[in-house]
């Protein structure tokens, strides 16, 4: 450093030091407010306030650009000026050097260091003088890479913005941008969570509440202190399934929607839900007598018996209504079942339109009693067996666990699947004894595998709500572990969300207690109930299981894919592993792997197996074959004309691409799931859907892919639209020139690979500092 020559220079140096310190203090305060702000507007207001209090600026304000008009709007400010004056100052700064709208993060700031000589000074000379504006700066704020606003600062000192100051304030603006991205990400996550809950509680076809909603409402109403009686009415549309078979699926949906609308219009304010495909349930509270329920049944019948329009035809649904009463027929939990039994019953009188529940109406009741004694005998005669479904690690392909599943080897009936008897086990109270047997048997068998020298795997055992009715679960688990001598670390307990929610405090206590001994837990059926992050945080679970229902449509439904993505992201952010259930195709497998899902079970690898078969698999060390395509350039071709496919394949293979091709859209989605496809080329005119629509869906599911459409000149309008919406990277007209095509494909792969490297880098950066999601100097 140069020697300081005289007093003036010393003073100047001190002043600059002081100024730099002020700006560092401001930066640090702003980073603190960023971490605390829950909403963008709070953040903006705090940033402006801090710029004045700590940075010593005379005015600070933030404008956001309205995308439609590109007008900038003042959203936060600090300092003595009026809103109108701030707008004028924004205009003045912008005129110095207009900010390009589409430059994104690379937009440079606007700096004015001598306000009084900067053009066009004449316009605002009075305002600049009155507000003591000598230097000013406008710094870009971005979100998701787009310029969305500007952060403005004004100082009463001339020449305020030197390189250091500009860098520091650009850093502040970059931190604000980062915080906005983080807040937006959080908002999207909250929205995905809420969507997931919605899908569990409302019927997607009609928008009316679902069975889950109705059962909760019913439990609340029955538990309410002022409830003396409750009637549940279930209206069954007996012709519905037949009609839907005749109609197109779309007309079927239209029909059921019409039915729902008419019911809602006729009975406003009455609690109603679609409890099964062809059944609506209604809840009547504190009726003056059964005649009131009968009257309502008659009215419901009136509405439903009218002809309903479906497409061009008028359809008759042949409704029949079942009625069950609380507390006479059943408690809250069985009431809907009783009303359903009544709705399904054959009335003695052919003209009847409704039927009250009665125990002898319940045609299942005799069978129920027979089954009950058969189940009791089954336990004594050791007719229950366990089957094991392998759970596979998606990185190594190896078997890492097995879910123990109960089967009943019923004499004269063969192997009875669990759904035919589990419900009854629960109702009859046998579940506790059978549950204990399952726990004992699973631990005993797992210990035996260990003694045989087989590779170590986790064994997973399901627990049902009923088993938590008393505090015996911990004792039962400890006894099974003690009797078998199994290491608790080998045992995993699977609980469904509903189990956890119904007995929350007790279940969480039990889980913690068992966790301390080394037993782990998995949350089963995740996503089908009231899945929320806040309760997930309280649970000592190691793993969550994504329900089969989401896995099934993973590769063709953007909303199911979004849910899977959200669930996996949510789990990972809490440090939990994810296992997907019911994986049946390579496409599903590929997609789950690309999302970072850790494990899977499903028919793709193996169905649940009898013990001997499972052990053969384990001993042979058989695993899931996982394809690695990291180095390949994989290209997908979709065209319904085989000749074109052949010609394209020939051209493209010359260049060494790995070419996948299909003439069917559905198979296209399957291939996208199963392989790491970089570039997609598809024909515009296909019988199942247009090329642009296919690519639009591809973009939603696999945003990283680069997409090209092949088309004739006549279809250009729809394609340009798709290009503008980002679904299509390029279009190539038919007939194509091979060289042009190859050039485009080469460019497309380059884009894909740059994007991939970029993502890999940001992931590595994220992994380096997981504790500080907002980064930046604090």
């Amino acid at each position: 450093m140069d020697r300081i020559e005289n007093r003036d220079e010393l003073a100047l140096a001190q002043q600059e030091l002081l100024r730099a310190n002020r700006l560092y203090a401001m930066l640090s305060q702003i980073n603190r407010t960023i971490v605390r702000s829950e909403a963008p507007d709070d953040l903006f207001a705090n940033v402006c306030r801090i710029a004045l209090e700590h940075g010593g600026f005379s005015l600070a304000w933030i404008c956001l650009l309205e995308p439609a008009s590109a007008r900038s709007e003042l959203v936060a400010c600090a300092g003595g000026a009026s809103a109108q004056e701030f707008d004028r100052l924004t205009g003045w700064l912008t005129r110095q050097q207009p900010m390009p709208q589409d430059g994104g993060e690379s937009v440079p700031p606007i700096i004015v260091n001598d306000a009084l000589s900067a053009a066009p000074v004449t316009v605002e000379v009075d305002l600049l003088a009155e507000r003591l504006v000598r230097s000013g700066g406008a710094f870009p704020i971005c979100r998701d890479g787009d310029l969305i606003g500007t952060f403005h600062l004004v100082s009463a000192e001339a020449d305020f913005f030197k390189a250091t100051e500009v860098n520091l304030m650009s850093e502040v603006a970059a931190d604000i941008s980062y915080a906005l991205n983080a807040l937006r990400h959080e908002e999207r996550r909250i929205a995905a969570e809420s969507k997931m809950r919605y899908q569990a509680y409302y019927d997607a076809q009609t928008g009316v509440p679902s069975r889950a909603w109705f059962e909760e409402r019913l439990a609340d109403v029955c538990a309410a202190a002022d409830t003396s009686s409750v009637q549940v009415l279930v209206a069954d549309l007996r012709q519905y399934h037949g009609i839907v078979q005749l109609l197109s699926p779309a007309a079927g949906i239209e029909l059921i929607r019409t039915v729902a609308r008419q019911l809602e219009a006729a009975f406003p304010g009455l609690a109603m839900a679609r409890v099964m495909e062809s059944k609506f349930a209604f809840l009547l509270r504190n009726a003056s007598g059964l005649h009131e329920a009968e009257e309502l049944a008659w009215q419901i019948h009136q509405v439903l018996a009218r002809g309903m329009q479906a497409g061009a035809q008028e359809m008759f649904l042949a409704p029949f209504i079942g009625i069950a009463s609380y507390p006479q027929d059943s408690g809250a939990t069985g009431l809907l079942r009783c009303a359903t039994v009544a709705a399904d019953s054959k009335a003695a009188d052919a003209n009847a339109l409704c039927s009250f529940y009665s125990p002898d109406l319940d045609q299942n009741s005799r069978r129920w009693l027979d089954m009950d004694s058969a189940l009791r005998r089954a336990l004594e005669r050791k007719e229950f067996v366990l089957h094991y479904q392998p759970q596979v690690d998606l990185r190594s392909g190896r078997i890492v666990g097995a879910e123990a599943l109960l089967r009943w080897n019923r004499p004269g009936h063969g192997l009875v699947p669990p759904m035919e008897f589990i419900g009854q086990l629960e109702e009859s109270g046998l579940i506790e004894a059978v549950g204990e047997w399952v726990m004992q048997e699973a631990c005993r068998r797992r210990r035996a595998w260990q003694d045989q020298g087989l590779p170590p795997v986790r064994v997973a055992v399901n627990l049902s709500a009923r088993q938590f009715h008393d505090d015996r679960v911990p004792t039962m688990v400890r006894r099974a572990l003690g009797d078998s001598g199994l290491d608790p670390g080998c045992l995993e307990l699977e609980l469904t969300e509903s189990v956890v929610l119904t007995h929350a405090d007790q279940v969480i206590r039990t889980m913690r207690e068992l966790n301390a001994t080394g037993v782990s837990h998995a949350l089963d059926d995740f996503g089908t109930g009231y899945s929320s992050l806040s309760y997930l945080q309280r649970l000592p679970v190691a793993r969550i299981k994504i329900d089969k229902s989401f896995v099934t449509n993973l590769i063709s439904s953007a909303s199911d894919a979004a849910i899977a993505r959200a669930v996996i992201g949510m789990a990972h952010s809490l440090g939990l592993a994810v296992i997907a259930e019911g994986v049946e195709t390579q496409g599903q497998l590929g997609y789950l792997r690309s999302l970072g899902c850790e494990e899977m079970q499903g028919y793709l690898f193996s169905r649940p197996l009898p013990e001997t078969e499972f052990l053969e698999l384990l001993a042979a060390g058989r695993g899931l074959a996982l394809s690695e395509e990291t180095m390949d350039r994989v290209l997908l071709l979709v065209d319904d004309e085989p000749n074109i496919l052949t010609a394209l394949k020939r051209t493209l293979r010359r260049e060494g691409y790995r070419v996948l091709s299909t003439n069917r859209v559905a198979e296209g989605f399957e291939l996208l799931g199963a392989h790491r496809v970089g570039v997609v080329i598809c024909d515009q005119r296909m019988p199942e859907m247009t090329g642009t629509e296919f690519l639009r869906r591809t973009k939603a599911l696999y945003p990283d892919t680069v997409r090209i459409v092949l088309s004739g000149y006549t279809e250009l309008n729809s394609i340009i639209d798709a290009v503008n919406r980002g679904a299509v990277y390029k279009f190539i007209t038919k007939p194509w020139d091979d060289e042009v095509l190859l050039d485009s494909v080469r460019d497309a792969f380059r884009m894909y690979e740059i994007g991939r490297e970029h993502r890999a880098m940001s992931q590595r950066l994220k992994a380096m500092d997981p504790a500080d999601p907002l980064g930046g100097p604090a």
Partner: protein
């Protein structure tokens, strides 16, 4: 008498209430926020807001039921309601339209979409500068 620039927010999630509240306060509106359908009905009666921003899914009384009750009371039938929801499926849209709700804001709420809708529904100019 409706209170010209009061907006009522009903959402059971405090994070969503916070977000909408700051956006509306900043736009110059007076904001009242509640966490349930029942509280929304009480606030409509006591505060006479110019507009209700209503979450569709809340425990107990849901958004559909709130709308139904508002529409069946002549005193509140004309009050504009905007549904704020994460879903956008055909079934729910159809059900909302049948209940008399035409305006839907999809979560996560976009600042400009909210502003455009407020301007349209309230005719603009209710927020103070």
């Amino acid at each position: 008498m409706s209170t010209q620039n009061t907006v009522l927010i009903a959402d059971d999630d405090p994070r969503n209430r916070k977000l909408l509240t700051t956006l509306l306060l900043n736009a110059g509106y007076r904001v009242v926020s509640v966490a349930s359908g029942a509280a929304a009905l009480e606030a409509v009666a006591s505060q006479s807001p110019a507009l209700l921003l209503l979450d569709l899914m809340m425990p107990g009384m849901d958004g559909f039921e709130v709308v139904h009750r508002l529409k069946s009371d002549p005193a509140t039938a004309a009050m504009p309601v905007i549904m704020v929801t994460a879903i956008d499926d055909e079934g729910s849209r159809a059900r909302l339209a049948a209940a008399g709700v035409k305006d839907l804001l999809i979560k996560p709420v976009d600042r400009w979409a909210l502003k455009a809708m407020l301007d349209r529904v309230l005719g603009g100019g209710h927020g103070q500068d």
